[in-house]
Symmetry: C2
Subunit: 283 residues, 2 copies
C-alpha cells in the first residue's frame, strides 16, 4: 500500500493506473477504522481493480460544540488495517492540503437543499453542506469509477447520491449494509465514547428500530405513533432521543400510508456519544 | 462537426477521444454566437486537440424579471458558425436533459460565497450560484483538460476559477480578452436589444472605463471619486448605471491604494439592455 499526502501525487499515481485500463474504486473515511470500514474496502475490491481509501477528518463538517477535537485519531492502526486489506493507495491529506489559503477567503459550498436540513441536518446545521463539499473535492481528486459509502450514514448516502446525480459526476455511488456488533449495535467510531454500562444499553437502538420494522411489516401505518413509541423505548433505557423518523427510502420525504419503500432512521445521545442507526423496510 | 444532445452520447464520444490521447478543450456558451465566442473557439484550438462547444441557455441563472424568454435563440446560425470554426462536437442538451426530474425536487447548488453576491450578484440574486452550478454540471459531463471563458464576464470568470480551485476540479480555466466592435463596444448577445440610437451611445461604456483606467495610470487613487465620475459620465449620455467599481483583479475585493493589479468593472442599463464591461489595470 502506498501512502499519499498530496493532491498532485494522488493524481499522478491514479493517472498511471488509468492508463493501465484499471477500474478505480474509492472509500472515503474519517479514519479510526473498524470492521464497518473494512467491509467497504472488501466491497471496493469486488467493484474495482485499484482500491483507494482516504483518511481525512473534515473539520468543516463539525459544529462548534461538536466532537472535532476529541474525534479519535489512530493513523498507525488505520494504515495497518488498510494494508492488511490490500488497499492500493491510502490518501491522507493535511487540512492545509485540502483547504489551502487562496486569495478568496470563503470556500465554495456544495449544498443539496431537500435532504440536508432535515433529520440529522436539523440538529447539525451546515453538517451536510460540508460533507457534500468535502466529498465533491475528494471525488474530483480521485476521480474513481465507483465510490463506496456505508448505509449506516443513510442520510449522508442520500445527500451524496443526490449531489452526484445533480452535478452529473461520472461516478457510481454504492451503499454497503451496516456492519453490526454484539446485540446488533451498528459499528461506529463514536461507540468508543461509551462507558461499559452505556455499551450494554447501546444495542437498544437497533432493537428499537427492529421492533418498529416488525410493526410496519405487521401492517401498522400510524407513523407518528410508531415514532413516539420508539422514542419512549429509547428514553426508558437512558438514551436522549433526537429523532426517530419513518421516511421514504429514495428521497427521505415523509411517506404516505401507501408507500412501500421505507427507512426508519434514528439519532439519540447516550452519554457523550450521539449515535445514529437506520433500518430499511420494503413492504 | 457532430451535434450531440444527450449526456450519455457526449460522454461516449469523448471517452473515445480520450483513448486517442487527445487533449479536450471546452467552450460553454448560451448560443447566439458572435465574434467574441468565436475568439474563444480559436483559443480552444490552440489549447487542445479536440474542441467541444456547448449551447445551453440555463433558465435557472435568470431572475424572474430578467430576459430569459426574450434571450436570442439562433441555433441554426450558431451551428454554422461553430462548424466553420472546425469545432469537433457541439453539445446542445435540452432543459430536461440538464435538469431531469429526480425523486428529490430541489437541485444541488454550488455557491462561491465571497464573489457571488457583490457587483452583478447584488443586482441579480442567485445568478452566480446557478452559473456555478450549471458550469459544474457541464464540466463534469465534458471533463475537459481546459475550459475557456471570456474576460468580458469577469466576475463569472472569477466565480468559476474559485469553484474549480476550491472543488479540486482537474481542469485548467483560461480567460480570453474581450472582443470589441466599433468604438470599443464589448461584443454581447444583449447588444441585439439596442436600438440604432442606443448603439451609437453604447461605446461610451468602454470609453468611460478607458478614462478611469487613464486616471488610475496617472496616479489618481481616490477610487470612490473615480467611480462616481464614471457613473456620472454614463448617466450623462443616457445610461442608467448599476455600478462602476474598482476592484482587485484576483479576488474582486476592494483595493487599498497600494494595490497594483486592479480591474474596473461596470454594469449599466441602456434601453432594454443591461450591459457589462471591464478593463484590467496593472500599475
Amino acid at each position: 500500500m502506498k501512502i499519499i499526502t498530496t493532491i498532485n501525487e494522488m493524481r499522478a499515481a491514479l493517472a498511471q493506473v488509468r492508463t493501465q485500463g484499471k477500474k478505480i474504486s474509492f472509500v472515503p473515511t474519517m479514519g479510526n477504522l473498524h470492521e464497518g470500514h473494512l467491509d467497504l474496502i472488501r466491497r471496493a475490491h469486488q467493484l474495482g481493480d485499484c482500491v483507494v481509501a482516504s483518511i481525512f477528518v473534515n473539520q468543516m463538517q463539525f459544529g462548534p460544540s461538536e466532537d472535532y477535537t476529541s474525534y479519535p485519531h489512530t493513523p498507525d492502526a488505520d494504515q495497518q488495517k488498510l494494508s492488511a486489506e490490500n488497499v492500493d493507495y491510502c490518501f491522507m491529506p493535511s487540512a492545509a492540503e485540502m483547504y489551502p489559503p487562496t486569495g478568496i477567503t470563503t470556500h465554495t459550498e456544495v449544498f443539496v437543499p431537500a435532504v440536508s436540513t432535515i433529520l440529522c441536518g436539523a440538529s447539525r446545521p451546515g453538517h451536510f453542506k460540508w460533507v457534500a463539499t468535502v466529498v465533491a473535492k475528494l471525488l474530483n481528486i480521485v476521480q474513481p469509477d465507483v465510490a463506496i459509502f456505508g448505509e449506516k450514514d443513510f442520510q449522508q448516502l442520500t445527500v451524496i447520491r443526490s449531489m452526484v446525480t445533480d452535478l452529473c459526476m461520472p461516478i457510481k455511488i454504492v451503499g454497503v449494509p451496516t456492519t453490526r456488533g454484539a446485540g446488533g449495535l451498528a459499528l461506529s467510531s463514536r461507540n468508543g465514547y461509551l462507558t461499559p454500562s452505556e455499551l450494554a444499553i447501546a444495542p437498544t437502538l437497533y432493537k428499537t428500530l427492529t421492533q418498529t420494522k416488525q410493526q410496519l411489516v405487521a401492517g401498522e401505518r400510524d407513523f407518528a405513533e410508531l415514532e413516539n413509541q420508539a422514542k419512549q423505548s429509547l428514553a426508558a433505557v437512558g438514551f436522549v432521543p433526537d429523532y426517530v423518523s419513518i421516511r421514504c427510502q429514495d428521497d427521505l420525504s415523509e411517506p404516505s400510508t401507501s408507500d412501500t419503500k421505507l427507512v426508519i432512521l434514528a439519532a439519540a445521545k447516550l452519554g457523550k456519544a450521539r449515535l445514529i442507526d437506520n433500518l430499511q423496510v420494503t413492504l
